[in-house]
Every structure is written in structure tokens, then in C-alpha cells.
Amino acid sequence: MNIFFHEFKSYLKSAGIWSVAIFLIILIYFSAFNTIAVEAEDITRLMSSFPEELLIAFGMNNMNFGTLLGFFGAVFLFCQICLAIQASNYGFSMLSIEERELTADFLLPKPISRGKILTAKLLAAFLALTVTNLSVWVSSFFVINLVRDGRDYDTNALVMVLGTVVIFQLFFLAVGMVISLLMKRVRSVIPLSMALAFGMYILNIFGNMLGENTFEVISPFTQFDPNYIINNGSYNYPLAMISVSVILIAIPASYLLYQKRNVASAV
């Protein structure tokens, strides 16, 4: 329990900063909504005259900036980038920080098994991510209601989009953790987490530019594409299962790897 609280306390500040950042992103984007919406409504009408295949090729068939949720889909992508960086930051640093700061010498001789240490750390990181997750929920509803101006939106679809956040975070947390355990030594966390988060993001962009599903399906950005969920009213289950199974493999693998890890020490 001590480890859990200690860890959670060390995450609080960072989780708070990320939450505020995400709130600001949503707020700033939506404050431009009313300007864009007027213009976009004309465009939507115009675009419906184009052949469907062409729009699919652009990933534009499900883009509709004129509606609250259509716009939210675009904004949410930026939130996803932030969430991905935050979660992979936590994942990469969670266990490697003890070796980097030479505090593993202090932690590991304590009368607790490594499994328990990992559990406590994992739960603390997850709780910190949940704080940010909550902030995403609250900010989204708050800001959308602030700018809706009498427009209606489908609450159900919004809830479904926001519901993906938890899996999205767990994916980056678990993958980051497992990679940090596979590496012999993690010198600094940020380049790694940037590479993971942005790598997945760029894969998704390429996927959107021409809608053929190749290797971009491994990217959670593609699996939890907000536009898909908003337009279809359901998750893209086959793709979402990829993330879920990655999480289900990565976490037990981390326990195994951590049990056997040759932890670097000061002496």
C-alpha cells in the first residue's frame, strides 16, 4: 500500500498538468466551432454530391465539421495524442526510473515480492491515468454544452467515444512497460514515449490518407477512430480486439520479465 500511495503522489502533478492541457485543447478548438460550422454546413451538402469511393479514399466520408460530434471527432484526435504520450511516459518510466535513479537498491531489498511492487506501481499509474481520463470526460461534456447553442448531439455516441479512452491509455501504458523491460537500460524516457505515441499517430495518418487497411491497424489511433464510432454508433470490434489482446499479453509478460530481470544497481 505504501508503494501505491508513494507512486500515486508522484504522478499527481503530472496527471494534473495533462488534464489541464487537454481541457485547454478542447476549449480552444471548440471556441472556433461556431465560425467553422456555418461554413462547413454548405460544404457537407456539396460533398454529398461526390462519389462515395472518392470520399472513402480520403477518409472524408465520415468527416462532418458542421455538427458538434463531427467536430469533436477532429478535436478528440488531439486529445488522443496527449493521452498517448502521457500513458507511454508512465509506462516507460514506471519501472525503469528505479534503475536510473539507483533507487532499486532501496526498493528491492524490502520484504515485498517483485510481483507486488509491480502491481502497486501499475495500479498507481492506472489511477493517475484515470484522473486524466475523468478530466477528458468532464471537459468534453462541459465544453460541448458551452458552445452547443441549441444544437443537438447524440449523447450515446459521445459516451462511446469517451469510453475508448481507458483502453487507449492501457495500451500505451502496457506497451511502454513491456518495452522498458525488454531493454537493458532505459537512459531517458521521453524519446521512447514520443516515438511510440507519434509513431502510432503517423501510422494512422497514412491509413487515413488512403483507406486501405494494412499495418496501420496496429495503431490504437486507427482502432479507436472517433469518426468511425460517431458515424456507425458502435465500436470497430475486430480492430479494438487487437488493442485488448495486446494489453492482455503485455501485462502478464511484464510480470514475467520483471520477476527475472537483472536489475542494475549502484555497486
Binding site: 472556433a32 456539396l46 461526390f50 465539421f65 503517423i202
Partner: protein, 264 residues
């Protein structure tokens, strides 16, 4: 000089990784381009898009169905990748000594602290140059499949020259942060927040007319690719701002690092 070569060697792996990312990015990007190439229908769709949206993706002013236009769109992403590399190298190259606890050793060498910074900055800048050259070469080679005209090569060369300037801005901001931040651990995360923050600003600046002034705050907006393409120049005011940022950051780095209380 020795520090310079030593740093080059130490950062070689990271350079290779970034080069790999760029190569991958260009190859995959151009393979996607083959779907756009000389497809007039796509042009029609693009014409119909809202200006604000195209602006935020930097897609207006370019004809996506030509190599030149496609490169113009990819340009923003390349700027982002090269910017990330520069700001990471800049902040890391100074702060890693304290992180890896090698600073005691480095500073007992008979060199001034300012010489150390010069050598390290030069090494990081060399890496930036190499990365930009690789990006330039990749775009040169891969685009060859699409028979680009002379204009493309001119645009490519000028565009990449400007990206080097962008890299240098972020590099000097990174070096500055590495020297100034009291907690060396923070340097990297602050550097990245600045990079991401300015990137978001550059996207936001295009959304609404009243927010146009934001473009002065983000280096990503300083070098408008369409201006480079059509008039082969950049706005002089941005050039001065860039030089200002570089000089202030580097001067700040030299001054603060020479009186820095090192964490040992």
C-alpha cells in the same frame, strides 16, 4: 574538438533511428501519393473543402495531385519530425551529463564550460544537418518515380534549407533549456511541451481569423511552404524572429551554464 567527435559518436545511434523514421515516412508517404497522382477527381474534392480545415492541415495552396503539391503537404510533417529530433538532441546533449552522472568527469577536463557548450551544440547541429540531408536525399530519390519537373527540385532544396533553420531554432531552445532548468530531469519534458505547444498553436492559428497573430509565436508557421514554392522566399520578419530566438537562447545557455550549480 575531441568533445565534438565524442558527442557525434555518442549520438550516432539516435541519429540512425531518426534517419530510419524519416526514410520510412518518405517511402510510405510517397506510396500513398501514387493514389493521388494525376487524379483530377481528387482535386475537385479538395476544392470543395472548407478553407479553415485545409488551412489547419496546410493543404490549401497545393495541388495534391502533383509531386510538388504533395511534398508541400508532407512538408509540415517533416518539419514536425525534424523539429522533434532537434529539440530532443538539444536538451539531451547538455542535461545527459548530469543524468548519467558523468558531469563531474566532463567538467574536470581542462576545457571551459563555454567550450563544452560550443562543442556539444556543434555536434548536435551536425546531426541535424545530416538528418536534413537524408530527408532531402530521400525526397529526391523517391520522387524520381513520378517524373517531377525542375520546380520540384528547386522547391525541395529551398524547403529543406529552411527546415534546417527550423531545426536550429529548436536546437537552440533545447540547449537553452538543458542549461537553464534547475532540475536537469525536467529539461526533456519541457522541451517537448514547447515543441508540441507550438505545433498545436500552428494548427490553431489557421482556424480563426482573429487568431492569426498566433503565427508569430510558433516557428512552425514561420516558413510558409506555399510562399517558398510560389515566390521562393520567406517573410523577412520571420527570419529576424528566428535569428532573435536563436541568439537569445544560445546566449542564455552560455551565460547560465557557466555559473550553473551542477547536480553531482
Amino acid at each position: 574538438m575531441r568533445i565534438y567527435f565524442r558527442e557525434l559518436k555518442a549520438n550516432f545511434k539516435s541519429l540512425l533511428i531518426y534517419c530510419g523514421i524519416v526514410v520510412f515516412f518518405v517511402v510510405v508517404g510517397f506510396s500513398k501519393f501514387s493514389g493521388y497522382a494525376e487524379n483530377p477527381e481528387i482535386l475537385q474534392v479538395l476544392d470543395a473543402m472548407p478553407a479553415a480545415m485545409l488551412d489547419s492541415f496546410n493543404m490549401n495552396a497545393f495541388n495534391l495531385t502533383t509531386v510538388v503539391g504533395f511534398f508541400g503537404v508532407m512538408y509540415a510533417f517533416m518539419g514536425l519530425i525534424l523539429g522533434i529530433a532537434a529539440v530532443m538532441w538539444g536538451s539531451d546533449i547538455i542535461s545527459k551529463e548530469e543524468r548519467d552522472k558523468t558531469v563531474e568527469f566532463a567538467l574536470t577536463l581542462p576545457v571551459k564550460r563555454s567550450t563544452l557548450i560550443t562543442a556539444k551544440t556543434a555536434a548536435a547541429f551536425t546531426n541535424c544537418l545530416i538528418l536534413a540531408l537524408v530527408t532531402w536525399g530521400m525526397n529526391w530519390v523517391v520522387a524520381g518515380n513520378y517524373n517531377p519537373d525542375q520546380e520540384y527540385y528547386r522547391f525541395l532544396t529551398q524547403g529543406m534549407t529552411v527546415l534546417v533553420l527550423l531545426q536550429f531554432i529548436f536546437l537552440s531552445i533545447g540547449v537553452f533549456l538543458g542549461s537553464v532548468m534547475k532540475q536537469h530531469k525536467r529539461a526533456g519534458s519541457v522541451a517537448i511541451s514547447i515543441l508540441l505547444g507550438t505545433y498545436f498553436l500552428s494548427v490553431i492559428a489557421g482556424l480563426k481569423e482573429e487568431w492569426d497573430f498566433l503565427k508569430y509565436l510558433t516557428p512552425f508557421k514561420y516558413f510558409d511552404p506555399s510562399l517558398i514554392l510560389h515566390e521562393s522566399r520567406i517573410e523577412p520578419v520571420y527570419l529576424w524572429i528566428s535569428l532573435g530566438i536563436i541568439i537569445v537562447s544560445l546566449a542564455g545557455a552560455y551565460i547560465t551554464y557557466s555559473r550553473r550549480d551542477l547536480y553531482i
